[in-house]
Structures are given as C-alpha cells and as structure tokens.
Amino acid sequence: MQRETARPMFDTDELVINMGPQHPSTHGVLRLVLKLDGEKVVDCDAVIGYLHRGVEKLCESRDWTQIVLITDRMDYCAAATNNLGYVETVEKLMSLEVPRRALYIRTILSELQRVASHLLWLGTHAADIGALTVLLYGLRERELVLDLFEEYCGARLTYNCMRIGGQPADLPEGWDKRVLRFCEIQEQKLPEYEQLLTSNRIWMERTTNVGVISAADAIGIGLCGPPLRASGVARDVRKDEPYAAYAEMDFDIPIGVKGDTYDRYLVRLEEFRQSLRIIRQAVEGLPEGPIMGKVSRMIKPPAGETYHAIEAPKGEIGYFIASDGKSVSPYRFRVRPPSFCNLQALRQLVRGHLIADVVALIGTIDIVLGEVDR
C-alpha cells in the first residue's frame, strides 16, 4: 500500500503529567515529569532538590564532632550507617586506632539499622503496590529496632550514635540479650511477609520482569547496594573492603539473576537473614575492653584528603573529606549518597512501563529524598 511515511497515520497524543513533589508515593518530595502515551510511560524526568539543605556546605563550617549529627539528617531512615561512614572516614584521615569493642558495637548498630531500613522499604514498597498490611507488619518490627536504638543512644530516628575514635557510650545492661531476642522475633516474622508477598500471584505479576536492568547497565549507571546485587553483581563493601568488624564476620551476599523488581525484593529479603546472622555473631563475640580510642579533645586531622565508603542499607555511601590541617572544620566535604546514584537508573527503568509500575519502581530502588538532595 502506498502511503506517505513522513507522517504516521495516527499521531500519538502525549500527556505530560507531574508526579510529585506532592504525591503519596514518591517517598518524599521527588518530582517526576512523566510523558505518557495512554498509560505507558514514554519518558521520565526526575526533578530533585526540593529538600536541598546544603548539607555538604554546612559541614564545612562545623567542627569535626558536630558533623556527626548533620549526617543523621541525610538518610534519616538509616542514620547509624551515615554516622559510621563519616566517623570511619575521619578516623582514616587521622589514622586512628579504634578499640575492637567499639567496632563490634558499630557493626551491631549498622546491621540493626539495615534491618530497620529494609523493614521500612518493604512496607512502603508493598504499600505502593497496594498491599497495605505488609506496611503495618514492617512498622511493627521496626518499632522494636527503634526501641533498641532508643535504649542505646536515647534517640529513635536521628541517633548521633558514633564518635570519632569510638563509641559515645557502652552498651546498657542486658541490651545484648534484647538484641538477640529481637533477632529471634524478626526471624519468626520474616515468613509472615513472605506468605503475604513472595508467592502471591498478584505480587509476582506486578514485580517480575518489571524494571529489568542488566549487570552491565547497572554498573554503567553506577547502581549500588541491593539493586546492583539483584542484577547479579556480587559487590558489597562489607566483603570487598571490610570495615568495622565485618572482616571477622561470616555472612553471604545474596545476588539476583534477572535484575527485575522481584529479584530486588528477594535480595533484600535475604539480606534480612544475613543481617540477623551478623548481629548474632557480633553480639556473641562481643569483646571486652574500652569503647573509645585515644583521641585528643580538639580533633584536627592532618592536612590531606581521603575517600571512604561503607555499605549502607541503600547502597554504598562514600565520604570524601579534605582537611587543610589548620582549621577546626573540613576544608571540603562531599558525600556519595546511594539514593542519588540509584535514582539515576529510574529513567531507564520506567521507560515503556505503565504508571502503576512507576510507583513500584520508585519503591524498588529505595530512595530517601533527604539523601538525594542533601
């Protein structure tokens, strides 16, 4: 048939729709400008910065100890790992020796934090796909973690629970027992989530083959954390460049096969179990000794710069800190936040999927806007 090919017979009407910054499921103030063809997403533009508070610049005018509590405010769902990344970077810069007991406590705290963060992720991700009950179940267990944190450092969200050179306080009496008790409870509750989701037909249909990303693409984009591992890349800072007490722990790194949303879900679910395993080992092998290294009152690292990364629940959080050796605050402070790097994949993930998948995909990369915008 003869037909002018220059103009397609039916031109498509693209509808531009703004998802966010005020939207129930953009996990904060993320704004997505979606170009829709019917229900299909043709293109997606993520607009960030609604929560920008200038954390990095702010840190350059605070002294070294004060910065710990600013890092709390980046990924507010995982403050302990933010603290850890920062204090370890400074310790590396100052070549400080941290007592083993402090390292173990840090390990326990950051794994508890991982469990709490994953619980929140699981709940919100499931709620985005419509399974509201899982959200409440997840929050129920997260509450227990928060209680533990509250007992240790007095705070439930922004912990400020680490110090340069060690820990601010020793463990309260009987805390280790309660941590082990929590591990037991959590272990029992995991099958509950799995019952509701893992083999649920609707859940599987909603997540399998949605947002597939290959290993090569994942590395190319710079994904980190569970999304990277779900694509089949066995990269975990805890194993590759051990920090805190991870070198002494025995644990596995779960990796996915296909790199779709379902794999990311499975990977994170397995990480619960590995975290509990690490917590148990750390609590049982907790060494006696001091909790604070030899640190002078006035922290003033020598001139120089360093980068150090740890494995936060959402991925690899890295700190680049430069010190001029003279002032009492960092000369340059820069964070490599996992949420920001993982957000880069969103565009590629959502293209060609439907609106309903967009919310599932925002959930699956697990972002916190406080960290994306800083």
Partner: protein
C-alpha cells in the same frame, strides 16, 4: 385516552428533531447522536405498533434496531477517532477527502 396516534406524533417529532440535528450541526459526534435519536423514534413506532397489534414482532425488530445502532456507533466512533488523530478536527465540513 392515549392512542396509537399519540405515539406516532411523538415519534415523528423525535425523528424530525434528529433530522434537524443532522442538518444543522457540523460536529460529527452530535450528528451521530442525532441519528441515534432517529433510530429511537423508529423504535417507539415499532413498539407502539407491537402494542396495538398485540404481537411481539415489533419488539423483535426493535431489538435488531438497537443491535444495528450499537454496531453503527462502534464503527462510526472508530472512524471519528481515526480521523481526529490524523486531522485534529471533528467538523464534518472538513472531512472532504477520501484518503490522506
């Protein structure tokens, strides 16, 4: 007393309104709707006669008319949609090409 004539008059008037709609409006969707009005006028007639004669044949034909109306609406609106996508108009005066 309502007689057959009442229904015939009503039906004729409704049919005429349909015709007026087709003649005066240039919006093709409204033209199609006017045609639905005319079909309804026909149906009123059929059913009124069926009532008068005490025979359901009229109603059977009304069912066929509804059936045809459904088919007409489906295809007609399909054509309108296709045309609109291409020309961005639903004014019948601008539909003067057999092909594009």
């Amino acid at each position: 007393m309502i007689t057959q004539t009442h229904f015939l008059v009503l039906s004729a008037a409704l049919f005429m309104l349909g015709v007026v709609g087709v003649m005066t409006r240039r919006n093709i969707i409204i033209i199609l709707m006017s045609m639905e009005l005319m079909l309804n006028a026909v149906n009123i007639n059929l059913i009124a006669f069926s009532r008068q004669l005490g025979d359901v044949t009229g109603q059977v034909f009304a069912v066929f008319v509804i059936c045809v109306a459904a088919a007409e609406a489906a295809v007609g609106l399909g054509i309108i949609l296709a045309f609109y996508r291409n020309k961005e108009t639903i004014n019948i005066d601008e539909m003067n090409l057999m092909r594009w």
